[in-house]
């Protein structure tokens, strides 16, 4: 390990810091005051951030082909020999090992950087909440799990982090556990994720059986050594199983239903876990295993299709939501769809680029929404907001920047990453591009609908809330400002070549993808020509501006129109408003069927297991024991009692003389003495005679 520079050799410290403070919160958190909790929990994440930056700086100092540093702390699951599918003997080994390469480096910078800002924000947002130390303990535990996830050098360890973030997500969604809706949402998230995780786990097993290794660094060589054909069915199966896991964690169709409900958690949690980091784990995982995906074009096509459809589908639900956090939740699902679209068309780096910019602007959107909710004493319904821009100006301006970024206005971060994805999609399939393009318009519309309903127009705030409106404390505003800066400039890291840039970010990530580039026959370049790229950008800018204008017209100019449109659309509006009745459909198809199964098993339990089995066995035991008792009472005890009764009977005369009175014994002695003496004298007389 010492062969590497300090930070690269001590990568394992990065997840350790938050783990230590999480443990501290667990054991002594109750006794600490809020400022001690702040110092410990924010401090540990900041330390992780410093180490991440250090690792990043030392990594880019290395030549591009050496940018993979692995440090194995110990062998977690020692070598287990087993037969691979091709009959050869292999060892199953799971290291407790960390790997740092451009991809994980980007991820740890996002996780610790955005994570630190959100920790700072939380110190303001959660200041008056109960369970303060518990919140930060969970948050730190989440940071630990997420860092394990992105730093793992093998699939099993990635899975450990994967499950860890799922657990923390569950704990934090249900943070307000006294509210039934919150605890239900936590359970829903956990259970839906289990379905995905089952797929992921099967995928790991199959990878191990097929390739004989679960180390990321060895997957590429194993694929090369195995001479797998393009579209090998087993590789496709692995890719699909992994994708099942990704749909669960990253909230894609059909497993996206938990994410909107997850908004029950505190807003910083929504920002950190359900927008910036955890939900992007699926994208990270697909990118991490891109070598397998690139040999499974059918799976890639499915990933792209699911991503595109999810993007459109979720955006359409977002258009009609009235809860400010729900809009952002569906927006997150939609943006994750873009990332999968990127992965599906082979533009993994573009997916990660969008992941990063999304972490900035969506994290900011959630934090700003939290600031709005904070200002309005907990109000989340946009119908009870309006005209807030003057009252909470910092929140307004930062949120507006994030909205411009997500809508894709040049040159904000979202524009660069989204157009990179749309450009790649266009090369692959015009239909996928069309879906993504249309979704971009809808995104602009629903995001500006949110801005206009919240900050502009006339105030619809409840009267008793109105005079409490206040701008949030500095601890909340500073993270907003920093994230706003990143939402503007974050995209410039990969300034496109046609604008004279060098796509540095994408180039930086390329080595992670390039090893398997051989598998892909056609090299990628811009859509047709640079002019085509510009043309596409102008096209999407036009649609975005149209969407914004449309939102302005409906929610500022003619505020009576949305209601009329909703009424004229009738059934279709209700369908979208009720989220396409997907929850109800799942309830009808799976949840209630599972409940029925539970009830049936319950009936089976009470009648067969309990009635026949347990109670029957009990009855039989009682019956046998009653027989045994009869035998015991009448035969065993009876024979003994008969004997004693006979002795008792025969002892009756003897008992008469034993009356316990010392004088009667004496009398008997005297009488006996006289009797004996009399007899003696009688005999004496006769003998003499």
């Amino acid at each position: 390990m010492n062969a590497h520079p300090f930070f690269l050799g001590h990568v394992w410290l990065i997840p350790l810091f938050p783990l230590l403070t999480a443990a501290a919160m667990l054991f002594i958190g109750r006794r600490l005051n809020n400022s001690a909790v702040n110092a410990l929990c924010c401090g540990s994440v900041f330390a992780s951030f410093i180490f991440s930056v250090g690792a990043f700086l030392q990594l880019i100092a290395l030549p591009s082909e050496e940018r993979l540093v692995t440090s194995v702390l110990f062998e977690w699951i020692p070598a287990l020999p087993f037969h691979m599918l091709n009959g050869r003997l292999a060892n199953f080994v799971a290291d407790f090992g960390f790997q740092i390469d451009p991809l994980s480096c980007v991820m740890i910078l996002i996780v610790t950087g955005v994570g630190f800002l959100i920790h700072v924000y939380s110190t303001g947002y959660m200041a008056h909440e109960g369970g303060y130390y518990r919140f930060f303990g969970y948050l730190n535990l989440f940071m630990f799990s997420m860092l394990i996830l992105v730093l793992a050098n093998n699939l099993v360890m990635l899975f450990v982090g994967w499950e860890g973030v799922g657990t923390c997500s569950y704990l934090l969604i249900g943070f307000y556990f006294h509210r039934k809706s919150a605890s239900d949402a936590g359970k829903k998230a956990f259970i839906v994720n289990r379905i995905g995780d089952a797929g992921f786990l099967l995928g790991i097993f199959l990878t191990s059986a097929l390739l004989g290794t679960i180390r990321f660094a060895e997957i590429g060589p194993a694929l090369a050594a195995g001479h797998f054909a393009m579209g090998d069915p087993l590789l496709t199966a692995i890719a699909l199983l992994f994708f099942v896991g990704a749909t669960g964690k990253s909230a894609q169709i059909p497993l996206y239903v938990w994410l909107p409900d997850a908004m029950e958690g505190p807003t910083p949690v929504s920002a950190l876990i359900h927008a910036a980091t955890m939900v992007t784990a699926g994208v990270y995982m697909v990118t991490r295993t891109n070598a397998i995906y690139q040999l499974a074009p059918k799976a890639m096509a499915l990933v792209a299709l699911v991503g595109a459809v999810t993007a459109l589908f979720a955006a359409s639900i977002g258009v009609v939501q009235t809860d400010i956090k729900k809009v952002l939740a569906y927006s997150t699902v939609s943006q994750l769809g873009y990332m999968f679209l990127a992965c599906g068309v082979g533009a993994f780096t573009a997916g990660i680029f969008h992941l990063m910019t999304h972490a900035f602007f969506k994290g900011l959107l959630f934090l700003a929404a939290g600031s709005v909710i904070h200002a309005l004493s907990g109000e989340q319904d946009m119908r009870k907001m309006g005209a807030l821009s003057k009252k909470i100006p910092v929140t307004y301006w930062t949120m507006l920047i994030a909205t411009l970024a997500i809508a894709g206005i040049f040159p904000f971060a979202g524009f660069l990453s989204k157009d990179l994805i749309l450009g790649k999609a266009y090369e692959k399939d015009a239909l996928l591009w069309a879906i993504g393009y249309f979704t971009a318009g809808m995104t602009a519309f629903y995001m500006f609908r949110l801005i206009f309903m919240t900050f502009h127009g006339t105030s619809r705030v409840d009267h008793d809330v109105e005079h409490h409106i206040h701008e949030s404390p500095k601890s909340m505003l500073i993270p907003l400002l920093i994230l706003a800066g990143l939402s503007i400039a974050g995209g410039w890291l990969s300034w496109p070549e046609i604008f004279g840039g060098n796509s540095r970010f994408v180039r930086f990530l390329e080595p992670v993808i390039a090893t398997t580039q051989l598998a892909r026959p056609e090299p990628t370049h811009g859509p047709g020509s640079p002019h085509g790229e510009i043309y596409l950008m102008l096209l999407s800018e036009g649609l975005v501006v149209l969407g914004i204008c449309f939102a302005w017209y409906l929610y500022i100019k003619r505020t009576e129109l949305p209601g009329k449109i909703a009424k004229s659309l009738g059934g279709f509006y209700r369908l979208v408003y009720h989220k396409y009745y997907v929850d109800q459909l799942y309830d009808a198809l799976f949840v209630n069927r599972a409940k029925d199964l539970g009830l049936a098993l319950g009936v089976f339990d009470t009648t067969v297991i309990n009635g026949v089995g347990v109670n029957g066995a009990g009855w039989l035991t009682r019956f046998i024991s009653s027989l045994s008792m009869w035998w015991d009472t009448w035969i065993v005890d009876g024979s003994i009692r008969l004997g004693s009764r006979i002795v008792w009977l025969f002892s009756y005369p003897v008992r008469l003389i034993q009356d316990g009175l010392v004088q009667s014994y004496m009398l008997l002695i005297v009488v006996g003495l006289i009797g004996f003496l009399g007899y003696y004298f009688y005999l004496g007389h006769h003998a003499v005679r």
């Binding site: 009356d659 316990g660 009175l661 010392v662 004088q663 004496m666 005297v670």
Partner: protein
């Protein structure tokens, strides 16, 4: 003449004392009285050497007997022999 008292007289006196003792023991209810008349029975013992032994014996017996009676009274608060029937059980 011969002034010695005939042996028969001793024997009859012994018999009388013993009989009085037995009757006393059998008829009285109070254990102190019983102990007292029981001591009279010792008087029926003959022989000069035996008489010496008996004096010692009787003293010991009186001490032990009174000790037992005292202990018994503390437990049962009675001195009546017909209420002392616990040996039956």
């Amino acid at each position: 003449m011969n002034a010695t008292i005939p042996t028969d007289y001793y024997l009859w006196l012994s018999l009388a004392l013993f009989t009085i003792g037995v009757i006393g023991v059998l008829t009285r209810r109070n254990v102190i009285i019983i102990l007292m008349v029981f001591s009279r029975m010792w008087g029926s013992v003959d022989g000069q050497v035996f008489a010496i032994f008996v004096i010692t014996d009787a003293a010991a017996e009186a001490a032990v007997g009174l000790g037992i009676i005292l202990a018994f009274f503390r437990n049962r608060e009675t001195l009546l022999a017909d209420e002392m029937d616990m040996l039956k059980w």
